[in-house]
Amino acid sequence: MIQVNGLTKDYGARRALHNITFDANQGEIVGFLGPNGAGKTTTMRILTGYMPPTDGTAMVAGYDVVEESLEVRRRVGYMPETVPLYTDMTALEYLKFMADLRHIPDSEDRAYETLESVNLKDRANSFIGNFSKGMRQRVGLAQALIHRPEVLILDEPTIGLDPNQVVEIREVIREIGKDRTVLFSTHILSEAQQICDRVLIINKGKIVAEDTPENLQSRLVGSQRVVLRVRGESDDLAGKVQKVKGVRDVEAKADGSVEFEFSAGQDVRPQVAKAVVQGGYDLLEMRPMGLSLEEIFLELTRDNASGKKSS
């Protein structure tokens, strides 16, 4: 559904995208992970026909984004990161306008249906200017869905939402992803893990990793970080843990828990447990922590840097 080949984009002298290549199949949800300024939005803007690439090609739904831009735009639903909306229109007017631009018959009915699908039916005749961030986000999503596109491109769809709304939006994405292609960007790893079939990690305009979320994580786990919790006071817990051989980076948290790290293949958890119990504590919890995106990033960029040096 999406085939990107050697995509490069320069903004003046600055190169925002370096030779990016990836693809996404029908019924696949692909997460685009990366920090701000990594090139996520640039890539999405090229795929939606907003701007042409400097070099390379991109095909969406079988059409070239430069040569057959209008065909691509007919088949893509896009929600930009800032969710631009006409605040002087009601939700229904706005969606009807977007539906008319896409030549949808009975545009008002469709606008109404789409509002219903994002749970905004009861606010159809309210002005968008009075909407909360979460509601605006949903109007933006409705706009992207109104023509039932083959490919859905969402730029940070869950940013700035409260947890309930995040769950709702994720549910919608998962539902659409069953038979259509979804490309969405995020910088929250757990989000990518929950809904993506595949994750692309992009940094400084380059794809630094591409895999399923599970593989990505296990591949990168060189060391394991663990949270430890005990009943009651834990004044000297950190010191006790510190003494166990193989334990690194001990950190006493404000909530009384203690975090530490050990190298993979050198599991020190039994020793730590013993030390804790012998220290007179009641062990409540010892839980491995997943790697955060930041850590994966550090890991990946470190790999990249060392790779360059050796070559």
Partner: protein, 248 residues
């Protein structure tokens, strides 16, 4: 074609909830209406004293044309500049709409709004028709209003073009006004100074084609071509500005 209409309709509707559009409409109609009342009063008084003159609708429209020069930049400054500022341009440029459809749609929406204001002034013509005997010159009426609409169309097209260049409304307003002053007045200065080629500059002056042509009841091909060219240039500028924005 359908997209042009969709965009024009939204723009037209938007003017009716926009304070600036009401300010423009009220200012235009008050000034022109006041002027009309004065002309009518003066004509009636002088008729009583025996030195009667017959007031013409073209006198009102001459003032209307001049006020358009200041009023239209206020109507067009927002059109594309504001879409760029708020980011909504991203929606339009990723919808299946051609760049020129967007520009023409915006222009058409503003022109329809302006035509609505112009249509209100037909009341003056109606009043005048009842005041003078044997009624007003219908041919002059038609040609004057056609000229006024073409003039407004040209002003608005240039305004839309300039609005596509900037993302700041004020910058768009001032640039548009500067171009209008240039076309209305400055470009005519060389006409009287140059020994040769003065004709060209005289042709370039906007009011030559309205005050000196349509508004005297004369419809010339050269005047039609003049306004059509300005409209084309304005809309073309807007389309190119959007195209450049994409490539930047």
């Amino acid at each position: 074609m359908r997209n042009i209409w969709t965009i024009a309709k939204r723009e037209y509707d938007h003017y009716f909830i926009s304070p600036i559009a009401y300010v423009v409409a009220i200012a235009l109609l008050t000034l022109v209406g006041g002027y009309f009342a004065i002309i009518l009063l003066a004509a009636n008084q002088q008729a009583a004293s025996g030195f009667g003159f017959v007031p013409e609708i073209s006198e009102v429209n001459n003032l209307f044309a001049f006020i358009l020069l200041i009023a239209t930049p206020a109507l067009t400054m927002r059109l594309l500049a504001d879409e760029t500022r708020t980011g909504t341009i991203e929606l339009l440029l990723t919808a299946p709409v051609r760049d020129y459809e967007l520009v023409i749609g915006k222009w058409l929406g503003s022109l329809l709004f302006m035509v609505s204001i112009i249509a209100v002034t037909l009341i003056y013509a109606f009043i005048l028709n009842n005041q003078v005997d044997p009624g007003i010159d219908l041919k002059l009426l038609l040609s004057s209003y056609l000229g006024l609409i073409l003039l407004a169309g040209a002003f608005l097209a240039i305004g839309v073009g300039i609005s596509a260049v900037f993302s700041n409304q004020i910058t768009a307003f001032i640039s548009t006004l500067a171009i209008f002053i240039g076309l209305w007045w400055l470009i005519g200065i060389p006409a009287s100074l140059l020994p040769v080629g003065g004709e060209f500059f005289r042709y370039m002056v906007m009011n030559t084609h309205f005050g000196g042509a349509f508004n005297t009841g004369v419809i010339n091909l050269s005047d039609l071509i003049y306004f059509a060219s300005l409209i084309a240039i304005g809309l073309f500028t807007g389309t190119v500005a959007i195209e450049i924005r994409r490539w930047r």
